[in-house]
């Protein structure tokens, strides 16, 4: 921190008490809030720092724009949501002031107000609130029909929302770590630390997690708890140090267990550097931990609830434990004259601490008739007025509480007491979020009015406050036994705790118009919940969704129990019958970036590149994405656009030759004595008749008979096949083959190995193809006679072991040179240099597409779509009529697959040769029919064919082959194109060139 430079002029805040708290003034930092500059101490949260300077008003509520202050000192905070920025790109909306630690230079602003926090125009909503009860929007804004979209909705949208999303790309880094442990302990309060000591003693691998910067949990504020004779908080730090020194323990602070998923899997979000003044450039901002734990100990503590009464939301009203934390940990007094309103003993202790620190206590108003004896006695001893059987029924103060109105329960006598802060406690709600997420079942404990863990669904145990264990000695015993080992911990607390209430307090009872807030962030009041019930919302899930209670960013940590109790009272049903809403991850909101972690930019999705990629890029290739692969699309020369480059490439391949990178094609080596038999079963063709040294085009269907993949299969030896697949199909085809091999045909002696990446594949196509490759090929006669079309051989190319295929996807004389991938670049370079000198070109996938379309060769996935049979695609010849079995044999015979009028692949020629159809255009017989039109099919491939001197297209057309010669129509947006149906071969119909 840089603070010392501020020297003695440091103003640490008028409410910072000397001698109180654990922060030291040695290091300070500066931050601004709504443009005004403040000094904070090291360890301050934004909340404690603001309170030190007497700032309570920090935000505006969601719906009514009511002024709001800081309610809590922890992650349950519903009100104090701020915008925190390091710089313009590192800006974060909706940050809880009670969690964010101050860093030097932080620029912090309030949200959801205009023009300013103190004067917010939106607060007229508060006056209009009678018109905006829960669910009001369902009942209105329906007329006129268009007005919802044009008028009402935009207004509602502008009013809603809290923070403003960042506008720039986030420059920060995030990290991920998978981890395993024997025991994961969530929460490092007294219970979690004790359990950790015990578990660590067994030698187990332990991960102890706490979302606060320091361990200790409630010991942050509990001054009256001593452990092993020490102040509880000090004991906690010493214990943590002891644990950290053990090799089998990992302590993660500032780390939230946000989700407890199946099978011992937990998601943790660690805030690594948001608290640092100047994090290193490479330090991640947050780290995701994905932990698989054999056992989980939940020690997540309990969360204090507020009291539900009229105007209980003014700035200056806060939870008693929060006031205690601000005082005992941060050394900040939340006011000078503080009122206390409680239904639980613990708030008394807050009053004692404040009083001892010199803060005056206006009164402790306790709605119970009989508080705990011990706290009463202490209050008396300290001279604090206690009003039992009384309630606070209202408050005043516009931007900060000024007074509380106190009444004897059931009595109209009221008195107004001036206060500048009011601390409240309705008791404690065990934090059973993670337990519930793990699918454990809760039970309702009538005596203590709380839900507690009952039946566990995973190997997990709850200890401490989250398990409803109030007595310190019981808690320690429970934690030690949960840890499974031994530990010696002696904890004592001066005051026993009792009490608590849920639901609306006195004065906010049924039949009132007052705003007694249940859910602060969403402005849900007790009367909203009652209204929901009156409107027939009898399920707690309906009440939640109708009122939005518990749906704000704090997910009802404070409000759910109150809402439930108010509903139960209205419904006149016991609480467990009304039930709880479902706890869902995350426990507190988690940054997307953290969940994404490394998976951004180049790590978002692997970009697969062929061995020749860089060489192609150097030749000016444009690339296209095909699945994960980057494929060379076309090779424009200077000044060429795509069309002219493709036209040139198309011409050159047919006139001279072209060189093409076919490495991405999937390759599977099928080896074993039963290889041919296996392929017989997996492809529609017959393979036993294929001789070694020859190849054949094969079609694969699944059981349903639709074309699944295709490719050329070469037989290298009796027991060895080199199978190729489509680029995108490679992984699924291998998986599909393995499935049949392992589960249906396990008796076959054959094995499958992916060799896609073993081979760099250089296709050389065109009349000069042989001449080009001839000098590089060793030990093989590649003359037409010795090595005819559809041959394969193992040989050497430039001294490298190679597999040479004579095959063609262009209709030209063609070879595919397969060399081990590392040699691809060298062989490519040599072949290309020679090809270039002979007038050949490099070509990409676009030219490949045009050339194959000129020949009527299909592309699976473009000319077929998963509803096309081999026959539909004009490939009926490839379906063996002799075989008695292959995958797809039965599916192909189903009624709809053999009916007349199926869509069949045909060629289309536009009447005007220069018209190129749009791929995906629809075809009709009568272009003048009214909509909805009857469509016959669609254009699957369409190109300008430089070699044909006109456009060509393929299409799937109902009854297509019987329509050859007919004129059909392609109605486009602006005009209709007449087309003639043809067969699918447009170039070299006799097919002579391929044998050249």
């Amino acid at each position: 921190m840089s603070g010392s430079s501020h020297g003695s002029a440091k103003n640490l805040g008028a409410f910072r008490l000397k001698g109180a708290g654990r922060l030291t003034p040695a290091r300070t930092s500066r931050f601004t809030f709504d443009g005004k500059s403040y000094t904070a101490m090291e360890g301050d949260t934004v909340a404690s720092a603001l309170l030190a300077h007497g700032v309570h008003l920090v935000g505006r509520s969601f719906k009514y724009h009511r002024p709001r202050g800081i309610l809590s000192a922890g992650p349950e905070e519903p009100n104090a949501l701020l915008d925190v920025a390091r710089d313009s790109a590192r800006r974060q909306p909706n940050v809880r002031a009670t969690v964010q630690e101050v860093f030097d230079g932080a620029k912090i602003s309030s949200q959801n107000r205009w023009p300013s926090l103190a004067f917010d125009v939106g607060s007229v909503n508060n006056l209009l609130s009678p018109f905006f009860p829960a669910g009001f929007y369902y009942k209105t804004f329906k007329w006129p029909r268009e007005a919802w979209e044009k008028v009402y909705e935009p207004i509602i949208r502008r009013a809603a929302g809290l923070g403003v999303a960042p506008k720039e790309e986030d420059p920060d880094r995030y990290a991920n770590r998978f981890a395993h442990c024997d025991v994961l302990i969530a929460g490092a309060g007294l219970a979690g630390l004790t359990a950790a000591l015990s578990a660590a003693a067994t030698g187990a691998e332990v991960i102890l997690v706490d979302e606060q910067p320091q361990v200790g949990g409630a010991l942050h504020f509990e001054t009256s708890t001593t452990v092993d004779g020490k102040n509880g908080f000090d004991w906690a730090q010493e214990t943590a140090a002891k644990l950290a020194a053990m090799p089998n323990v990992r302590i993660l602070t500032r780390t939230t267990v946000f989700g407890y998923y199946n099978h011992g899997f937990l998601g943790l979000a660690e805030r690594v550097s948001d608290h640092l003044d100047r994090p290193g450039r490479e330090t991640p901002r947050e780290r995701l931990w994905q932990v698989r734990a054999k056992r989980v100990i939940l020690a997540t503590g309990a969360i204090e609830r507020h009291m539900v009464f009229a105007n209980n939301d003014r700035p200056g009203i806060m939870l008693a434990s929060a006031a205690r934390t601000f005082l005992n940990h941060y050394g900040v007094a939340v006011g000078r004259n503080v009122g206390v309103y409680t239904a639980h003993d613990s708030a008394y202790e807050a009053a004692f601490d404040l009083k001892r620190a010199g803060v005056s206590i206006a009164a402790i108003v306790d709605c119970r008739e009989q508080p705990g004896e011990a706290v009463l006695a202490e209050a008396r001893a300290l001279g604090i007025t206690v009003l039992t059987g009384h309630s606070v029924i209202d408050t005043t103060g516009r931007l900060r509480i000024k007074s509380m109105t106190v009444a004897r329960n059931g009595n109209m006598d009221i008195r107004k007491m001036a206060v500048d802060a009011l601390i409240v406690s309705a008791g404690w709600t065990p934090s059973v979020h993670l337990f519930s997420q793990s699918r454990g079942k809760l039970r309702w404990d009538e005596a203590s009015q709380r839900f507690l863990p009952d039946i566990y669904a995973q190997d997990c145990v709850s200890v401490g406050a989250c398990n409803g264990t109030d007595e310190t000695d019981l808690l320690v015993d429970e934690a030690i036994s949960a840890g499974g080992g031994a530990a010696s911990v002696n904890a004592e607390r001066r005051f026993g705790w009792s009490g608590g209430m849920i639901g609306a307090a006195e004065g906010a009872g049924p039949d009132t118009r007052v705003k007694a807030f249940v859910d602060f962030q969403h402005d849900v009041t007790a009367k909203d919940i009652r209204l929901a019930v009156r409107e027939g919302m009898h399920s707690i899930e309906h009440i939640k969704r109708f009122t939005t209670n518990g749906m704000a960013s704090d997910q009802g940590k404070l409000s759910n129990m109150h809402g439930l109790a108010i509903a139960a009272e209205m419904l006149d049903r016991p609480i467990p019958q009304v039930g709880l809403t479902t706890f869902r991850a995350p426990y507190t909101p988690v940054t997307y970036g953290t969940l994404v972690a490394h998976s951004r930019g180049e790590l978002f999705d692997p970009a697969r590149k062929t061995p020749m990629h860089d060489l192609e890029a150097a030749e000016g290739a444009e690339f296209e994405d095909v699945g994960n692969w980057k494929r060379a699309w076309y090779f424009p020369k200077r000044g060429e656009d795509m069309a002219s480059a493709v036209n040139r490439e198309c011409r050159t391949v047919r006139d001279v030759a072209g060189v093409f990178d076919a490495s991405t094609l999937g390759k599977i080596e099928v080896v074993g004595p039963d290889a041919a038999q296996f392929l017989n079963l997996l492809y529609t063709n017959a393979w036993d008749t294929l001789k070694p040294g020859r190849c054949r085009y094969g079609i694969m269907t699944r059981e349903d008979g639709f074309v699944y993949d295709d490719g050329v299969v070469g037989r290298l030896a009796e027991d060895r096949f080199h199978v190729t697949t489509t680029t995108g199909g490679a992984p699924r085809v291998l998986h599909h083959m393995e499935d049949y091999l392992q589960t249906e045909f396990p008796h076959l002696k054959v094995w499958l190995t992916s060799t896609t990446e073993q081979w760099a594949v250089i296709a050389v196509q065109g009349p000069k193809a042989r001449e080009i490759i001839q000098p590089f090929v060793e030990g093989l006669d590649i003359s037409n006679e010795a090595f005819p079309h559809m041959s394969v051989a193992e040989c050497a190319v430039m001294g490298v072991p190679a597999r040479l295929f004579r095959m063609s996807f262009t209709g030209e004389l063609g070879f595919e040179v397969n060399v081990p991938a590392d040699y691809g670049p060298a062989v490519w370079t040599a072949i290309w240099e020679r090809a270039k000198s002979m007038g050949a070109c490099l070509y990409g996938t676009e030219t490949m597409h045009v050339l194959r379309a000129e020949k009527g060769y299909i592309i699976v996935g473009q000319d077929t779509d998963g509803t096309v049979t081999p026959d539909d695609a004009g490939l009926g010849w490839a379906v063996s009529k002799k075989k008695t079995d292959f995958v797809g044999i039965r599916g192909l015979k189903r009624p709809d697959l053999v009916r007349d009028g199926r869509k069949q692949l045909v060629g289309l020629l536009t009447n005007r040769p220069s018209d190129v159809l749009e791929e995906g255009a629809q075809i009709v017989a009568d272009p003048n029919q009214p909509k909805p039109m009857t469509m016959l099919g669609h254009v699957t491939s369409a190109y300008w064919s430089e070699n044909c001197g006109r456009s060509i297209a393929m299409a799937l057309v109902a009854g297509g082959r019987s329509r050859i010669g007919q004129t059909l129509y392609v109605p486009m947006k602006d005009r209709t194109i007449a087309v003639e149906v043809t067969d699918t071969v447009f170039f070299d119909k006799e097919g002579g060139r391929i044998h050249g």
Binding site: P154, G163, G536, Y592, G593, L595, S599, M972
Partner: protein, 417 residues
């Protein structure tokens, strides 16, 4: 039933909203009904409403095992569009979209149908071919769907990253302007209220546990956790549980139940004006009226009836969202959840008579049936009332799995939501 209007609201404002009555009544079940609908989601409630409204059949009960709308109706990302490919789908979804356009008025309940436009991103040649196939088919069918250049897409949705350096750059988009979102809960409640008003019994917390059949195999009623309830006809509209309920009558339907997850961010001021979906990177996103970014994730790979799923599904989706919208990386996930979708082999729904007389099924809406709610409900009511399908739903029958005449939107590379 009290009419909802701004005047009624104003009147109630003056008396603390004491005058609103229950939106639907919750009667004790009768001993028997003309029609029992199993499943109180949007489809089931809507079917009951249209049975009463359009077919005059009011002796109807909707049996819901939990709370109305607690199934997928209450947990979906609310994307509405009709730009599907096959005629069977276009018929259904366009019928539905037309009903959406007047639904708030028809039900006297603001379902907040918001035609903010649904934009599907195209990332490669294959996407482009597929989207243009849709666009052309839609146009000739009378359904709006248009092609946008990347610049036009960016103008429609400013947060979009259209840079060429993106891992999967955008080469265009298909936009259906009439597509959009609606308030999911309001759909269930609005139908329930309107149906209840016409005499339909809405019965919650009542789980159908068996289907009883007469001597000729015809249905006679249902067993429930509250006893037997007689019925002349039964319409099953139980989404993720359809196969479980159909099994009670011995009818097997080709369905797989899978968890599908979604998540919302913390509420933000308006930043995202439309719905964006991308099939290539697997993501879809919109912003609700309340301000959360509503993001749909993928399905878990296995069959399950637990409405939870793996964290990896969520992270995978967010990878894609942050790649498309890098500025959202600092936004926070507020809640994640799952629903159980019932998926057919061809990813199209089933609305059909069954081999059991009197038993009708509406299922298989999978990951995309919210948008179909009014249309499907409307045509399912027709099927139940008339005993045979309406012509707009005639293709959705069960026998297609025998004949092979599938409606394979997935195979045609459409986006499923």
């Amino acid at each position: 039933m009290r009419k909802y209007s701004v005047f009624a609201l104003a009147r109630e404002a003056l008396r603390a909203h004491k005058g609103w009555d229950a939106q639907w009544s919750s009667p004790e079940p009768r001993s028997s009904y003309d029609v029992i609908i199993v499943g109180g989601g949007g489809h089931g409630l809507g079917a009951a409403y249209y049975l009463a409204k359009e077919h005059g059949i009011t002796n109807v009960a909707v049996l819901e095992k939990g709370w109305l709308g607690g199934g997928n109706t209450g947990r979906n990302t609310t994307i509405i569009r009709s730009n599907y490919l096959y005629e069977e789908s276009m018929d259904m979804y366009e019928h539905s979209l037309k009903l959406w356009e007047g639904l708030s008025q028809d039900l006297n309940y603001n379902v907040m149908y918001s035609p903010r436009g649904v934009m599907m991103l195209s990332h490669n040649t294959h996407d482009m071919q597929s989207f243009k196939r849709h666009i052309n088919a839609n146009r000739l069918y009378g359904i709006d769907n248009e092609w946008l250049t990347p610049e036009q897409a960016k103008a429609y949705c400013p947060p979009l990253d259209i840079s060429k350096t993106a891992r999967y750059p955008i080469n265009g988009a298909a936009l259906q302007k009439r597509g959009g979102t609606a308030r999911h809960d309001a759909v269930a409640w609005g139908y329930a209220r309107a149906a209840s008003d016409r005499g339909v019994h809405i019965i919650q917390n009542t789980e159908v546990t068996g289907i009883r059949r007469g001597p000729d195999g015809e249905v006679t009623g249902v067993e429930t956790n509250r006893g037997f309830i007689g019925a002349k006809k039964i319409g099953v509209s139980a989404a993720g549980h359809s196969s479980v309920v159909m099994e009670m009558a011995g009818v097997r339907v080709p369905l797989a139940s899978n968890p599908l997850q979604a998540l919302v961010s913390e509420p933000l001021k308006p930043i995202f004006p439309c719905v964006v979906m991308s099939n290539t990177v697997h993501a879809y996103i919109s912003q609700s009226d309340k301000g959360e970014l509503v993001i749909g994730a993928g399905t878990d790979q296995y069959n399950s009836y637990s409405q939870t799923g793996g964290l990896q599904i969520i992270t995978h989706t967010l990878d894609a969202i942050c790649e498309l919208f890098p500025m959202f990386r600092r936004v926070k996930m507020m809640r994640q959840w799952g629903g159980i979708t019932d998926n057919t082999p061809d990813r199209s729904a089933i609305q059909s008579v069954t081999p059991v007389p009197g038993l009708f099924v509406n299922c298989g809406w999978g990951t995309g049936g919210f948008k179909a709610t009014p249309g499907s409900a409307n045509l399912f009511a027709h099927l139940i009332a008339k005993g045979e399908p309406h012509k707009l739903a005639a293709g959705l029958t069960l026998d297609r799995f025998r004949t092979g005449r599938l409606i394979d939107e997935a195979a045609a590379a459409a986006v499923a939501h």
